[in-house]
């Protein structure tokens, strides 16, 4: 029997409708764990059961790196806002005032976080016996700041417990915006390995070291919010990072907070792995077994470590992270020249070139004697200083294991910004994560001379012209 065209069309319609209605199955996106995490033995990654029982009588689990990170940061569609971190998660923070009858509570909101909101639909209790519970609010009286809660809580909220309402908006918006604008290059986890990353040179930033190159802070400080917002607004000239100047400030803020969230997540994970890697990475354990230890003994060691010393290290790591990122936004972290910029002049440029070529600074070693980014250091083969493995390509490498190409100063394209003070900061603080060291102990006048010289390089008639003395007119008047 031959199929009539009408039957075929009907069948096509039916099949199309079926496929279309079913759509793609629900997809839950997830953060990736770094390669370093995956280089640990599975017990260190996933945790171990402890011998002691916890309160409910079950065998307590000593969490490994993965659970510790997930508990504090969540997954992309179910984010956890860890209150220790200096991130603006959004929402209004407050405390419980009096607890009344009939499930009513009086709430007090700080003026600093916006004061008493007009509408309160739900509150999340952050501390005390009910910590973590989310309660819907059936009635909110803004005048008396009284909320009527819909459900009875498992435990009694006490006066003084901290709460947050409308929490997480900034993070939610940040995540949505990030997926739309950033994830295709920077990846869902901020690992610089999104779908388009493989076609880009230089590669997009991998946030997970917690290091950002182009900042206005000193060499020991992290990037400030201002620095990240500037990168978003101006982009990075000479790379694929575009400018997002057309986004409103609130969206830039949400994005900056989400990027900081991803950076802190990556750094927290990395630091936890560093606590474990030297003894419990797969390579280390293989070496230990070869050296005569038994695997069972190694796991016993790990179990003791996870139970006793590791929780303290986790707390310390969180504290240090919070401290470092908070400090980055303070005035103390900024690079501030102690003298105003030395006015640009041929003498200043000559002095700058002298310093550039001097044995003391030897900028030419990487940047080349004419500033073309082709100094002798670009041709050496070097080993990774930590693993001692030879890099396949010549040249110095940055902390992301990419070839660190010294800037070709003749183009006049400065990735970190082209204001003279940006160049000052580049020389004073170096470029974090890269092999450009900080020259913070140079006199600031000298740094300004170098800045003046560098800014003049693209306009030199011939390379090194700034070093030649000024030419006078050759005409002699008879």
């Amino acid at each position: 029997m031959s199929l009539t065209s009408r039957t075929v069309r009907g069948l096509t319609a039916a099949v199309s409708l079926l496929l279309w209605q079913s759509g793609c199955s629900d997809f839950e996106s997830s953060f990736v764990y770094s390669e370093r995490t995956q280089s640990l033995i599975t017990e260190a990654q996933n945790g171990m059961k402890s011998k002691s029982k916890d309160d409910s009588g079950d065998e307590a689990v000593m969490p490994g790196v993965k659970k510790l990170v997930d508990d504090r940061f969540g997954s992309p569609q179910h984010l956890n806002a860890w209150l220790k971190l200096p991130i603006d998660f959004g929402g209004t923070a407050g405390t419980i005032g009096e607890v009344g009858e009939n499930n009513t509570v009086v709430l007090a909101f700080d003026e600093a976080s916006g004061g008493s909101p007009k509408a309160v639909e739900m509150i999340q209790i952050l501390s005390g016996d009910c910590a973590g519970e989310v309660v819907s609010v059936s009635a909110w009286n803004a005048v008396t700041s009284t909320a009527t809660l819909t459900t009875a809580l498992k435990a009694a909220p006490k006066s003084g417990d901290s709460i947050v309402t409308g929490g997480g908006e900034v993070l939610k918006n940040g995540r949505s915006l990030y997926q739309r604008h950033c994830s295709h290059c920077h990846g869902t986890s901020g690992d610089g390995n999104g779908p388009t990353a493989q076609y880009l040179y230089p590669r997009p930033r991998d946030y997970r070291h917690g290091v950002f190159k182009f900042t206005t802070t000193n060499d020991q400080s992290k990037a400030s919010r201002e620095d990240l917002a500037r990168i978003l607004k101006q982009g990075i000239a000479g790379t694929y990072m575009p400018s997002f100047l057309l986004l409103p400030d609130s969206e830039i803020h949400s994005l900056v907070e989400y990027v900081r969230f991803l950076a802190m997540r990556g750094e927290f994970e990395r630091r936890l792995v560093n606590e474990l890697a030297s003894d419990y990475s797969q390579t280390a354990v293989t070496g230990r077994i070869k050296g005569g230890e038994k695997r069972a003994d190694i796991l016993k060691d790990l179990s003791e470590f996870l139970a006793s010393d590791f929780p303290d290290s986790v707390t310390t790591t969180g504290d240090e992270l919070a401290e470092a990122w908070t400090a980055a936004d303070t005035e103390d972290a900024k690079v501030i020249p102690s003298v105003a910029r030395v006015p640009d002049s041929p003498e200043s440029r000559r002095r700058g070139r002298e310093l550039y070529l001097s044995k003391a600074l030897n900028c030419a070693d990487c940047h080349g004697i004419y500033g073309q980014g082709n100094g002798p250091q670009t041709t050496i083969f070097e080993k990774n200083p930590v693993t001692n493995e030879l890099y396949p390509e010549p040249g110095l490498h940055d902390v992301w294991d990419n070839v660190n190409q010294p800037r070709n100063l003749t183009y006049g394209i400065y990735r970190g910004g082209r204001r003279p003070v940006d160049l000052f900061g580049r020389i004073h603080a170096g470029i974090k994560g890269s092999r450009m060291p900080s020259f913070k102990n140079q006199p600031h006048e000298d740094i300004w001379h170098i800045v003046n010289y560098v800014l003049s390089i693209p306009f030199e008639v011939e390379p090194g012209a700034a070093a030649k003395p000024a030419q006078t007119a050759a005409v002699t008047v008879p």
Binding site: G168, N274, A360
Partner: protein, 308 residues
């Protein structure tokens, strides 16, 4: 959605051959455009949920967890007085002869300074009778009943001359200032690669004998960290930040001595840069008797060497 279906059905069931091609294309377009793939990849259209996690998460566990039964670290009462562990690290077989890293007069960068004298290859320094220098011997963590690190404002000095770091292996108490000196008239920078501390990467002023560049390590590390110079890639040194005074580096004869250890059994880490896996011993068990010196000889077979 329903309208699209109705249109589709109508168009598909009425018509002729030309209509068939048109409707196939239309089907494909409508399918892709209106399918339920909005959720795909958890993209921008999905609003995530946010739960708040208290700042003290996990801290309660740390407080409640019992202290590990650390029979390895001086469990006996310190009332019985401290003892000393001293010893040697010995390379049992013949040491591989390493040529000079840089011979005087060689044509290297900044040769007037860096090749002014012979520079030895410090990856493996073995004395005439087999003593291995620059081996780190230390306790993994502060022992019970031990004394705390010396409180002093004196800085630890880290120098460089003729493009060679001095010393090659350095123990740094946490919190102490490290001053970086230079005895060379040329550019150097000091770049550290720690695991648990912040790294520094800063230029050193030529001939700086005062140590304008200084920093400190906040936390103890599990193993020594590499220090290098980016201008002169062959320059290498090792720092070990420790939060207790029970750490030593073997001298040119391979000898070390760690005094004032609480009596009891201790587990020492023995680390060297040119050993496979770097750890000669991860847990060398040594019993310390009060008032006595325990002598230890740590044998290093040549088969364990790995010169990288």
């Amino acid at each position: 959605m329903r309208d699209n279906g109705a249109v589709l059905f109508h168009v598909l069931t009425v018509g002729d051959a030309m209509n068939f091609r048109f409707t196939s294309i239309l089907t494909a377009v409508l399918f892709l455009g209106t399918s339920g793939c909005g959720q795909y990849g958890g993209g921008a259209s999905v609003v995530p949920e946010v739960s708040f996690v208290p700042a003290e998460l996990g801290a309660a566990n740390a407080a409640a967890s019992p202290e590990a039964a650390d029979s390895e670290s001086g469990a006996e009462a310190s009332a019985s007085g401290p003892g000393t562990v001293s010893g040697r690290v010995v390379l049992k077989d013949a040491a591989p002869a390493l040529p000079m890293l840089i011979k005087a007069g060689a044509d290297v960068k900044d040769k007037e300074v860096c090749a002014a004298v012979d520079i030895p290859d410090e990856r493996l320094v073995v004395s005439g009778d087999g003593g291995v220098a620059n081996v780190f011997v230390y306790l993994a963590k502060a022992p019970k009943g031990g004394k705390p690190a010396e409180k002093t404002d004196e800085a630890v000095l880290f120098d460089q001359k003729n493009c060679r770091f001095l010393p090659h292996a350095l123990i740094v108490p946490t919190g102490r200032t490290v001053k970086i000196l230079s005895d060379d008239p040329i550019a150097h920078n000091t770049h550290t690669y720690p695991q648990k501390n912040d790294s520094i990467n800063s230029g050193v002023a030529p001939g700086d004998r005062e140590g304008i560049l200084n920093f400190s390590y906040r936390r103890a590390e599990a193993a020594p960290l590499a220090v290098s110079c980016d201008y002169h890639g062959w320059m290498k040194a090792w720092h070990l930040p420790v939060d207790h005074p029970y750490a030593a580096v073997t001298d040119e004869n391979g000898k070390f001595s760690i005094p004032d250890l609480p009596a009891g059994t201790h587990a020492f880490v023995v680390w060297h840069e040119s050993v496979q896996g770097n750890f000669v011993e991860r847990k060398l068990s040594v019993t310390v008797k009060s008032g006595e010196t325990t002598d230890v000889t740590i044998d290093l077979p040549a088969s364990k060497l790995a010169l990288k």
